[in-house]
Amino acid sequence: MREAAGFRWFCRPAALVLATALTMSLGLLAQEPGKGEQPKASRETSQLDEQASREILQSLQQLRAAVKKRDQGDQVKAKAEAAKTPLPRRPARTVTPPSLTSAELDRLVNQYLKKTNPKVEPASLTSDVEFVRRVHLDLAGAPPTPRQVVSFVNDRSKDKRARLVDTLLQSPQYARNWAHYWKDVIRFHATNQNLLQVRFDAMEDWLTEQFAKNKPWDEIVTAMITASGRVDENGAVSFPLAHEAKPVELAGEVSRIFLGVQIQCAQCHDHKTDSWKRAQFHEFAAFFSGTKAKPILRAMPGQLPVFEVSAQGRPRYTMPDMQDPNKQIPVAPRFFLASAMADAKLPETLDAIERRALGASYITGQDNPWFARAFVNRIWYALMGESFYDAVDDLGPERTPKAPEVIETLADQWQKGGYDICWLVRTIMGTQAYQRRVRATTSPAGTTAFASNCPSRLRSDQIVEALVEALALPADLTAVPTAAVNRGPGGNPAQGLNDPGQSRKLAENPKKAVEAAGLAGAPTPAKGQGKAVRLGGPRMMFNALFGVDPSIPNDDVLGTIPQALFLMNGPIIHNRTQARPGTVLGEILATAPYDRAALNALYLRVLSRQPNAKEVETCSAYSSKVGNRVEVFEDIYWALINSTEFISRR
């Protein structure tokens, strides 16, 4: 490949040698004219070699010194230039406690509904049973246990819903749930999805910490954008690392995720349908110039590779000229949204650290409404199943939202209040709009925006939690040792997962555990599935199988055949839906006084509700057809796990 690379690699030393030769023969050293005389003076043949080599050395040193001086001179000039152009003073964040309440928000929403669809009756409010499951899944990412359901329903206090929301907002599961959401948002579009290099798990841990402390959103985003250091020391570094610290990739993704503006199309040409120009994209990318990712530790057996991200030096960002791809046009950083456009042009010579800090300040500043709107819109979409805009990552000044008065007011209040995420979630969840029942498109409330809540599929980690709860699985999805009688279908001795000794072996060997769980075929993004399995075990493979990009509209999220196969025929589901002593069903059947009670207990465990009359009728009819009580209940258990409702939020 060297030959193909051209002769550039030996250019530099050749140039040095040439320069020295020239210097010696012509005696022309630009900075030191006096020294040129010496080589001519001493020409005694006996001393020629020694003298000549000394001269060569001296000339080289002088040449190096001269070059260094010139560079320094340049830098000094550049600094002076930069000092002349004052950096725009970015205002500090001010916090005004928001005056918007849930009731006020409701009023705005109802106003909108009356204006656009006066004839449509919004859906009724959820019952307590429906509410408790919804809130637990939305906040903590896991369904409530039967005890939690019963205690909530039986609670007679008036403000129990608000108190439940508050309690869940304090729980560690809330932080983990939302950290996983944002990690998925970033991961599915990351340039480098290699789990071993980018350490998305560390990113999730770091985000969990931030959400647990209720850090303001602008601080979290600023920390991610300006992150530097080793990825194993600072989880936020995974964000620039996920995009290989490349300015064009970072620009596109930062804009999409945090501003909701899809400007990446303007990388190669002026945007075809929006007004963004190619220059604007590159001016934005210039903020990320100078950030570099480099490997610190190589991957070795027992050790993951470690990368480091740093912002160094005084970079010059250039974009290729459209007319002549070999020419590069230097570009100064400039923010392309909102009031920043009125600012004076920034110098091209900003250093990398200043650039990132300034970029983060423009993005998260309170003079940029799109930062707040993008976040509020996403949270609203996750909680209501409906968004103000057509897509959660396609907002911007050129898109028209539904109910602009609602989104703009809410986003504005949230922004002025200092980007308090807990306040936002609490306010939305306190509204009647959030607490309405779900409706399908078969009812008029289902087709009208904000007249009802919309059901959507759970995220992969939420489905894991639901399975863990419903089947009493260990959190890492490895086998559960169950004492006593092994029974498999048709009287065959049951396999692997029932033997305590085997389950220990599985816990030690993640690859075998993954295979035993029926997850070996899950698609992993990293090359080297083996390493990925060792990193995360069955739970990671489950997330790979069921994982979906949260930015995709809910209606477009359809299941896949491997997912259906796993739930239908997978070893975990099969084993744990059997009625053996030690399993959930075994216990229910042993303790329930009669069939109806057992059915109620089963529904409560799996779907957090009681069966309605029709469901009871269906089960009775099934029972009389099949006869064998154990088989009937196993089939019902299986059907509930495989139902749509089990993997949906409603």
């Binding site: 089960c619 089939d635 139902s643």
Partner: protein
Amino acid sequence: MPIESKIVQVGMSGDGVVSRRGFLRTLGLGAAGLTGMGVMPVSFTELMVLQADELRKRQMACILLWMAGGPSQFETFDPKPGTEHGGSTKAIETSVPGISIAQGWDQTARVMKEITLVRSMTNKEGNHQRATYQLHTGYIPTATVKHPNIGCSIAAELGESKFDLPHIVSIGGPTIGAGFLGAALEPFVVQNVERPPDNTQPKVAADRFKRRLGLLNHLETAGFGQTGGFDRVKDHRALYAQTARMVLSPRMRAFHLDEESPGTREAYGRNPFGQGCLLARRLVEAGVTFVEVRSNGWDTHQQNNDKVATLAQQVDPAFASLIRDLKEHGMLGRTLVVWMGEFGRTPKINGNAGRDHYPKVFNVALAGGGIKGGQVIGASNAAGTEAGACGPRPGSSVSGPCHRSRRCPRSARPDHSRSVRALSMPFSVGRGQGWPYPAGVEPGVRQGHSPALRLTPRPGESPSPLNPAEPSAFGPCAEEEPAEIAPLGWATWPSWISRTRSSGVMKRRS
């Protein structure tokens, strides 16, 4: 216009999401340079869409043998014995006089009559993941769009919607996914060929399984289907119906390799790759449209010759048996077999007796699908450093699918009509000297032209300079007009139109 609606259809993902990029992409490079011609450049996907009915009728299928890591062309199908870069690898004669391949590929040599070697593949990407993406999708990876595996595109067009089995299967490991075509077309992964795929066998008796499904349906109708989940339940039910159809389908027997005779299994080789090829044949027989079989370990930075020799012991009998088997079953005419890696390896042998990545010139072997076998297309230069001697057309691509053979309306010369009956993937064959970027073109995702490659001489024609057995028989290409397609009677276009990058695979012209 029906053609336009088909093209627009391709731009929509399975979820109904129209991506602007997808739409524009299928329209090709549009109006640039086409003034007055009234001709639209077409891409592989478009060609396939246009010919989908024809292909479906013929039950065309494709088997991709993916040599992960980048197989060395010197030790596979483009040996250079006795040269500076050839190493110690000897060349062996094949059943086609004039074509020789590396030692260790004896069985493949015997079926060379069915194989077309393309020796002038060239690209710029030397990174594994990116090159794999490029060769699988035809596009350069970018954060903005997830392109679908070509197999998924093919499956989307040719697969019957009610078919029992998945339309695209990946054996030996996961592969590039369906991208914007949606989760419904994700490749079905088979990790271990010795037993049926995970979770496809019901853990209870078939009767009880069907009974349970019935119960599930009833409970859903009575429950969530009534309380606001109607749309969700409908989608879920459709998915479960499809999955159950697969689980209960007698076609799943295709995964039971023990139904084959031991002799056949031995012939393919008792190793994962060999048995994977056997499974691929059975799946295509059962009606699957696209199967990829993966062979790992070709990234031979160290001990190149030894490692390739070991791998060839597995891949050679499997490849040859697959071709022979397909022929015996009468399936070779409708099944295209592609043997390919993501790039080639360096002519210079490194300090560890290995070869490093070298996308500048590599080779690909094609068989079946109507391609005329026993020929070599393109060549590398004598040193093996460049895609040297004249290929069929600088900048041309082997493209897709089935065009009816059409006479060029403008020229009376018979060798201008092209017929491509192969269902193949777009990649570039050529001199290794590509085209400069036309003014105004930025590096980025681009739709390429894919004029057809003449692969089968029309009956009664003398072999044209483009259809020789030996590279040296290539006549001077420069004077000839570029390979053109004339799908469905459209006019052909002049040479300067093909001066753009082909889909994802680039060459630079001096």
